[in-house]
């Protein structure tokens, strides 16, 4: 017997209310525990970049986002902007998706599960929590698509142009599927010309006014490395949810008989998959949304299958929903952890009080941007530092380390629990900590719970 799970508008309203709470959760969690920090190292990196542009009076920008932030910084506090934009971007994207689904006549259960899976997919959560260009691109692309469906070609072109100003690779990704789509709908060819001109103008604006690059690059490493970097369950922060991918593939195979009917979607998917691999762009996020919609279809198809063991059908339903929710909460947990530790922030503020700026701080490479943001001092190690040198400095406990400190004018060392793994040697001792405790060149400046600040005095 085929089952249909009908839903009503109150359920949709509840859904949006719950999603709003979910999107605000990491910020609310921080406020609840009495601190108000940004999520993710990238946010601090972006603010540091903007601050540098302001300080240096530069008149060139890496990307449109820098330009917008530069202009906005004189009106609004960037920290507030960084929190509010991703939240509204997430909600707006879901609302547009809802309208798209209505326009495409999705049945209620498919619409509900598709929206749910989109909202809980790690990549969607990523751009709804952390500020990036994707927070602008996704609503623009979705709006362009919605207006295209509504046959409002001029408005659609405008939003397509805005998307390509932020991410020019979208022009390359979208142009062929757009052609096939309009051709299939037997639309006037002038609409295609209008849309392609808009996309082209957007891309040219980027290339003319911004110095960022859109060059493709072939990923290094094996297929397994690639999967580990792009699938969330293996720990990738900006990755696809494995369960949603499986559901999407389920739909893909079950829908194979309709492949001609859906050929435009498959063409778009092919472009998105290739672009996700070779461009560091928003393609991955768009792909994730499409995969989540497919997953919604796949899930409904599985639920509507003829089951002999009715209990197993229920178990599958709960197991899938549990996995998707678990995956989302694991991501939220990682996101909350990505904001700097409050003790580290206190330690950095203390350093700033003592010496306002200009010194070098040695700490975990992951903290480099946070160190500069809160203390005004540069970090000795950052994400691009030579791993061998990082290992050597943290593990070694003889005079060779002192030479490195003197030569590079390192004044402060900050260590915390996360530095333990970096410092621990085969002997089981923590190299750098051991050195600082036993060498007169180091003086403990302050301690904030597990975060220790040492000053190099020689």
């Amino acid at each position: 017997m085929r089952r249909t799970n009908r839903i009503n508008y109150s359920l949709i309203f509840t859904f949006f209310a719950v999603v709003s709470l979910l999107l605000i959760f990491p910020h609310a969690y921080q406020l609840f525990f009495g601190f108000n920090l940004l999520l993710g190292e990238e946010s601090y990196s972006k603010i540091n970049d903007i601050q540098e542009i302001i300080d240096s009076d530069a008149d060139y920008f890496l990307e449109p986002l820098d330009f917008i932030l530069f202009k906005i910084s004189s009106v609004v506090e960037l920290e507030f902007f960084f929190k509010i934009i991703p939240f509204f971007s997430g909600l707006l994207s879901l609302a547009i998706l809802y309208m798209i689904f209505k326009k495409l006549n999705f049945d209620d259960s498919t619409m509900f599960y598709s929206l749910l899976f989109v909202a809980l997919s790690p990549l969607f959560l990523n751009h709804s929590f952390l500020f990036s260009l994707v927070s602008f691109v996704i609503p623009c692309v979705l709006l362009a698509f919605f207006l295209l469906l509504k046959k409002k070609y001029v408005f659609s072109s405008i939003f397509f142009m805005i998307s390509t100003i932020f991410d020019p690779s979208l022009f390359i990704i979208m142009i062929v599927p757009l052609f096939f789509y309009l051709n299939e709908k037997k639309e006037d060819y002038r609409h295609f010309i209008l849309l392609s001109c808009a996309g082209l103008i957007g891309s040219l604006v980027f290339l003319r006014f911004f110095v960022g690059s859109v060059m493709p690059s072939i990923p290094e490493g094996s297929l397994i490395d690639f999967l580990f970097l792009n699938i969330n369950v293996f720990g990738a922060r900006e990755g696809f949810s494995l369960i949603l991918l499986i559901l999407a593939f389920t739909f893909f195979f079950s829908d194979w008989k309709n492949r001609k009917k859906n050929s435009v979607v498959y063409i778009l998917l092919s472009f998105l998959i290739v672009s996700s691999v070779i461009f560091d762009s928003s393609a991955k996020h768009i792909l994730s949304i499409i995969a989540s919609v497919f997953a919604g279809y796949g899930f409904v198809a599985i639920m509507n299958m003829k089951w002999e063991l009715i209990n197993i059908r229920s178990y599958v339903k709960y197991a899938v929903l549990f996995s998707v929710i678990m995956s989302a909460f694991m991501f939220i947990d990682t996101t909350i952890d990505s904001s700097p530790d409050i003790d580290l922030v206190e330690a950095l503020k203390k350093i700033k009080e003592d010496i306002p700026f200009g010194d070098i701080v040695l700490t975990n490479p992951d903290y480099s941007e946070v160190v500069y943001y809160f203390s005004g001092h540069r970090a000795f190690f950052d994400d691009n530092s030579d791993p061998d040198l990082v290992r050597f400095v943290f593990k070694n406990h003889d005079d060779k380390t002192l030479d490195i400190f003197s030569k590079n004018k390192i004044s402060f060392v900050i260590i915390d629990e996360d530095s333990d793994a970096l410092m621990r040697t085969k002997k089981g001792i923590k190299g750098l900590e051991f050195l600082m405790e036993h060498n007169s060149c180091f003086m403990k400046s302050s301690q904030h719970n597990s975060v220790q600040v040492w000053q190099f005095t020689c």
Partner: protein
């Protein structure tokens, strides 16, 4: 409520086997393998703090451990009411003795002959390899093997019952106790392939159940063992065993060892059943244990699973198949003119089972109490405990690692939990160098690399590295802390000054 006669008989077998097991288990307060001491530490930690030791400061000078702690929690509950070592021995032996019940019901389901089922359940209590590995050690297989048989039976009945609750709950339980649950999945998949190829009807329920089980297994293990996968990739199935030890764990199948580990009659039954049911008769219920045996044999043949674990599963499946073969022989016998000699036939089989399964079992039971943990070694560890400081590191055979941390509380250079240790080969090579080097300064320099202070020389390391003594040990740089029998503990006094 009246208890049926056959259940009472199986109950008596259970009591007899349990008594025998407990008699041998409590001959010594120690365990027969080092792994048990690792589990004992987890039980003690759970009883004290509510959590196992996932961040172990003693193993490998400090490391993260990943394991499934459900079985430890089960035993910890009982350890609240008695000393933990007693709880471990008691619970493991009770669970292992319970194997007679699932074997009885499984064979009864297949053959519909209660006598054969009782006889098979009796034989299942005396699988030498299963006895040896569960009588005096903390082995989760005491629970997983009986549970696997229950799940197999539940799976076979699913087309009639249409109720997956027992299978699903049991499978999730199995999943959280030990990773060997994947064997059951592989066996069921092969069983479905065999049934399909023989045109036997495959129920939709069976397909739904196996797909669900695969889904749950893949997802649970991806989440639990994510870190292991990230560190070791697909090679995690070999447990990151050092290259030089690989052949000890994942070794070639030794037919003689298999013959005596499983018991000659059940072992031969395996081949007879394979011949009968793969070439002549089609019987779905026999396919499942047969497919399980094939899966295990193939994995053993390609060195994809540890020998001992493989033999334990193979032994259990052989006993189930023995029931089927025995039943077939009885049917054949009934059709012959000498059917009045049936009793004699039973007696002959009993004698054969006594000679080939029970006597070897008693032998292994005796051996299990005279194994790795003997008083000489334990005394050596207590000497270290009295002499050491908090950062002392001990070097010994990996086999002794968990015992040393349990008895002395000292850090060890290497033990048998190799997962997540990225420099395991380097450590093993250094350990080998320290024991085999002829030049003291070179060996001591390696010891300094890990702050090693104590060296234990005993038969396990002599056997592993094929040495009889450490050539550079002298009075100048080493104190003999303990020397008795074949066990010596040396304490290092000198440090090598690096230029």
């Amino acid at each position: 409520m009246r208890i049926r006669k056959e259940v009472l008989l199986v109950g008596l077998i259970f009591v007899f086997v349990l008594a025998l097991r407990l008699y041998f288990a409590f001959q010594t307060p120690y365990f027969s393998d080092s792994e048990s001491y690792f589990s004992l530490r987890q039980v003690e930690s759970i009883t004290e703090s509510g959590f196992p030791v996932f961040e172990d400061e003693l193993s490998y000078n400090g490391r993260d451990s990943i394991f499934l702690p459900l079985f430890h929690y089960i035993v910890s509950f009982f350890a609240l009411f008695m000393p933990s070592w007693i709880a471990v021995k008691l619970i493991v032996n009770i669970l292992a003795s319970l194997i007679v019940f699932p074997v009885f019901y499984f064979v009864k389901y297949k053959t519909k002959k209660e006598g054969v089922a009782i006889f098979s359940s009796f034989v299942s209590a005396f699988i030498p390899v299963f006895l040896f590995n569960t009588v005096n050690s903390f082995s989760p297989y005491a629970l997983t093997i009986p549970l696997t048989i229950i799940l197999m039976l539940s799976f076979l009945k699913i087309n009639q019952t249409k109720d997956p609750l027992i299978f699903v709950s049991g499978f999730i339980f199995l999943l959280l106790i030990d990773t060997s649950s994947y064997l059951l999945l592989l066996a069921i998949m092969l069983y479905l392939v065999f049934s399909w190829s023989d045109n036997l009807k495959i129920g939709r329920s069976e397909i739904e159940l196996i797909l669900f089980s695969i889904f749950v297994t893949v997802f649970s293990y991806l989440i639990i063992f994510r870190k292991v996968l990230l560190v070791h990739g697909p090679l995690f199935i070999f447990g990151n065993t050092p290259d030089l030890l690989f052949d000890n764990f994942f070794r070639n199948v030794d037919i003689i060892e298999a013959l005596f580990g499983i018991g000659i009659i059940p072992f031969l039954s395996l081949f007879v059943a394979a011949y009968l049911y793969l070439s002549r008769t089609k019987k779905k219920s026999v396919y499942l244990p047969l497919c399980f045996s094939i899966v295990v044999s193939v994995l053993l043949l390609f060195k994809l699973m540890p020998m001992t674990l493989g033999l334990m599963y193979l032994g259990t499946m052989s006993v189930i198949l023995f029931g089927e073969v025995f039943s077939t022989i009885l049917d054949y016998y009934d059709r012959m003119k000498i059917s009045y000699l049936k009793l004699l036939f039973y007696i002959i089989f009993c004698v054969l089972i006594i000679i080939t399964s029970i006597i070897p079992s008693i032998y292994v039971l005796e051996r299990s109490s005279l194994s790795l943990s003997n008083d000489t070694r334990i005394n050596a560890f207590s000497y270290i405990k009295e002499d050491m400081n908090d950062n002392s590191v001990v070097i010994a055979s990996p086999e002794l690692g968990h015992m040393i941390t349990h008895f002395s509380g000292a850090k060890v250079l290497i033990d048998q939990n190799y997962l997540l240790i990225e420099d395991v080969n380097e450590r093993f090579d250094d350990m080998r160098f320290i024991y085999t080097s002829a030049i003291g300064t070179a060996a001591m320099s390696r010891m300094d690399k890990y702050s090693v202070e104590y060296i234990i020389l005993d038969d396990s390391i002599r056997e592993l590295l094929n040495i009889s003594y450490i050539s550079y040990i002298d009075d100048e740089c080493f104190d003999i802390l303990y020397e008795k029998g074949n066990v010596s503990v040396y304490k290092k006094k000198c440090n090598v000054i690096s230029q």
